[in-house]
Amino acid sequence: MSANSSRPAGSWLRRFAALVFDADTLARVVDPTLADLQHEVDDAGDDAAAGRAARLRGYFAFWKLVVLSPFVFADWPGRRQLAHSLTHIGVIVVLLVVTFGAKSEWMMRWLGEFFPRFEPRIISIADLGPYVWMLTPIAVAVLVLFGRRSPFRTAPVAIVMICGATVAAAASYGAAGFIAAFDRIGRTGSAGPGDTISAVDALVIPNLLALGITAAMLMLIVVSQWRIRNVPATSIGIDPGRSGAAAIVLVMSMTVSLIAANRWLLLNEGLIEATLEITSPSGATAAGGGRAFMASSEIAIPLMLLGLVISVTMLAAAFAAWRTSRVRRPNQFVIWSTRLAVVALLVGCIWHANVMSSQWQTFRTQTNAMLAR
């Protein structure tokens, strides 16, 4: 317990925990863990090193608790909700990694180098990724439409963020795969049609798939507004936030998820533009912009990791939104922001899919001409 500080250590963690854990778990497990942290930091007094060490120990204990919670609360009251929710997020993250990560060039190379024995098995599992990824949103849509206990029924904000996470992950893995496949141009300054075609395919296919599925999912959710009239909470926009602060945080998270997805897609469109310059029939190879961009091929792994961080953060925010929506009354600000976000995401999906598919067609025409020559 701290008597000499205006905001005790771990107060933000306590707010986060309030979104994730039920009241009983908070009182009996989380609060004592954070109380220990505060007590130790308080004991450290002016000793900065001891204070830092106490914080590190306390933060580690807290996050360990969060990560292990689906398992350690096996016989805990209220654990079902928590375990199901975290498992749900875990499944989505695994799908993101398997679908867009394991098939990417750099990851195949990395797996082959470090885990040669497991590579064939992992890659064969990864082959299932696109099919699983296509089936998942359909299953979610069915849950939204018909499931009585669906976690999505009351949280359209969460759906918007999950869609944003999907697009951001697809776009970042696509970009990482593209740059890794296009590695030769970064090292030698030239690339054959074979390198170019596989690189552009690695980028465009996951992007278009994610955009298409996201758009379809959003449209199904719009349909569900009319389908389930007797459950008002299922209507788009009926969502969390009795308090103004919670509503602002949710709307900001939603906005960030949409901006992140949009930025990743714009980056990918820039990459394809650079490839179009290289494969242009006029022979004007990319000098400067396009080539310089691709020469930085070592950014493939940071690109993927950043995309993963963004996706996981969005999923965590979506989870928090869902948790909040279960206990709070609707807030008009969030209702209208969600409606706006659904429309923006739909329009954005259609817009980016249109730009990217038109770029893909141009690229195909140009590479066919190159191969004919």
Partner: protein, 101 residues
């Protein structure tokens, strides 16, 4: 239906033994006393299970005037906890004797 017998895993037994030997303690003190067997991140989960079984009781430490932050919890063993620990020790001894025979 036959009631499920109370189990006493090693960590729960260690907590009960420590509380019986040293009296009421904070969770962090139990971690320090355990010599690395109990961990900060999960000690309160184990203590919560013991509370659910009625073997341990807890209360918040009193707040000083003007103090901010979360109060810690003090844990003590209950009468049932002491009896279960004794019964468990007896059972372990009996089993060890039976194995020797």
């Amino acid at each position: 239906m036959t009631p499920k017998p109370t189990s006493l895993p090693p960590k729960e037994r260690l907590i009960l033994e420590t509380l019986v030997a040293r009296g009421p303690m904070f969770g962090l003190a139990l971690v320090d006393q355990s010599g690395g067997t109990l961990k900060r991140g999960t000690v309160y989960v184990t203590l919560g299970r013991l509370e659910n079984k009625g073997l341990v009781a807890s209360e918040q430490e009193p707040l000083h005037p003007g103090a901010i932050g979360l109060p810690r919890r003090i844990y003590r063993v209950t009468g049932l906890g002491e009896r279960v620990l004794k019964a468990w020790a007896t059972l372990t001894q009996e089993l060890a004797l039976a194995e020797q025979l």
